[in-house]
Symmetry: C2
């Protein structure tokens, strides 16, 4: 959307092989990589400005998570500026280097087959088959997820479909992971998605600052949030901010893969002392019987 | 079982307030604490001998886990000697300090109520009620588990029973955690228990040395093992050796609390790169469709 002098442009690939990194940097992009790279550069003492190319730093995150990471980056003296409203105020001359963290488009193969596409992505059905019968498209090219694990799961589902296997694979409940400090992880629907779909939900939270293991490890920044359906208690989404959120989210994946309820979460015995106890705490709270919450 | 001069005896409580710790130490005991304390002392340069007061260092662990931790401690120059066969070879004069890591018995309240007991523990029914109607015993005193989280779960189950609530609590599937380096964690039945009960089972494993995140973190020592029922695939037990095994085990608790099968484990999408992917790998292997295992 704006011209950058070649000699100032830093692609992530070249970035890690550079002998020296300029001091004043503009990180342009969105998504996990934009947040991770901005924070990494700030941590090694660079003067970082993050130019958001989407309204939110990571549009797929719940607003709660998005607001947290924005505040976190700002607390580290990272300036966040809007790219979405136009680039009028942007002066490229102010920066010694521009880091490209723009979302990548799927790279489509060349050839005579031309499956239907929209917005530069192949259109696929629930088995990831394109408009060309027998031709499947998984991963970046179908525009459904930027994550490697989503691509792997889609590939398994596509292969199953080819082999006539009807066993279901998880391809919708994709855990989102951001390797910032603290890490962010999310699975299921966001508050905004639930509201837009008219699904009733409640939110139950438990902070890491009340978790013994997190305090012992000096890693008490963060929270676990469970979004659940109020009547039958099905877990609709889980959001985690924690030093090791990307590993903690797998427990949420396990609950959601078998459509567990908040009662299942509450009655699962969690070892003490572990950070995973926050699941039991928030689950008990959601079940109406909080244990260590007033 | 043997006499120790008072001035040489170190209780764990006094241990942490000592100004200096003697160099040549005998750790006498069993269970997680004996393993943790022996390793800690070796890590700070002490000459440690572990006197096992049970045949296994931690009798509740699967032999696979027990053998691992024995070898691990021995690789750190900790001498392991048997206490069970008699203390004939033991010369207390060889040691400057004796660290008491013997298992604790439950401390029973004094009073006029005398519930039935056996082996110094109160006998309790499935609701943790003693032989005295309306009197419940949870935690160390009933001899079922040494863990705080088991006591908490038993307490909730007892209170539910008092209140007439029939909702089930997990009180049998107790996660066992050992805070050594690497950590050990286990839930469900051991191979020996399954064999003794005549339950058919299979074991599927995946090593951390083939997990990208573990390699990235330089913490690739360890393995995940899933014990499952061959026909319907129910997960019967999970054993983990890993730097953060005590947090990883909660995913296993989640699967087992709702009686998930290895197919559920296999089809749950796990974020990449995370250590939790070892669940997907071992689960896929158990389901007969390994992804990254030959």
């Amino acid at each position: 959307p704006f011209k950058v002098p070649e000699n100032k442009l830093l692609n992530l690939e070249s970035f890690f092989s550079m002998k020296a990194i300029p001091q004043k940097l503009l990180v342009a992009g969105e998504g996990p990589v934009a947040a991770e790279v901005s924070q990494l550069l700030a941590l090694i003492g660079k003067d970082v400005t993050l130019l958001k190319t989407a309204e939110k730093i990571f549009p797929a995150l719940d607003d709660y998570m998005g607001n947290f990471i924005s505040r976190k980056l700002e607390s580290m003296k990272i300036k966040i500026i809007e790219g979405t409203a136009g680039y009028d105020t942007l002066n490229i001359d102010d920066y010694e280097g521009i880091v490209n963290c723009m979302p990548r488009k799927g790279i489509k193969p060349t050839g005579t087959l031309k499956p239907d596409s929209a917005d530069s992505f192949y259109i696929t059905d629930e088995h990831f088959m394109t408009s060309v019968r027998g031709v499947y498209a998984v991963g970046d090219v179908n525009g459904r997820s930027i994550y490697a694990h989503a691509a792997s799961a889609q590939a398994l589902a596509a292969v199953n479909h080819i082999l006539g296997i009807t066993e279901s694979m998880e391809t919708e409940r994709v855990p989102l992971t951001v390797y910032t400090e603290p890490e962010l992880a999310q699975i299921g629907k966001t508050e905004k998605q639930l509201a837009a779909e008219g699904i009733e939900y409640k939110v139950n939270e438990f902070p890491l600052s009340a978790n013994g293991k997190a305090l012992t490890e000096g890693q008490s920044e963060g929270i676990l949030r469970i979004l659940s359906e109020p009547k039958y208690g099905e877990v609709l989404g889980v959001q985690i901010i924690a030093h090791n959120a990307t590993d903690l989210i797998s427990e949420a994946s396990a609950y959601m893969a078998v459509e567990s309820t908040v009662w299942d979460v509450a009655r699962t015995m969690h070892a003490h002392p572990t950070i995973s106890e926050v699941f039991m705490e928030a689950g008990s709270d959601a079940a109406g019987t909080p244990v260590h919450k007033g």
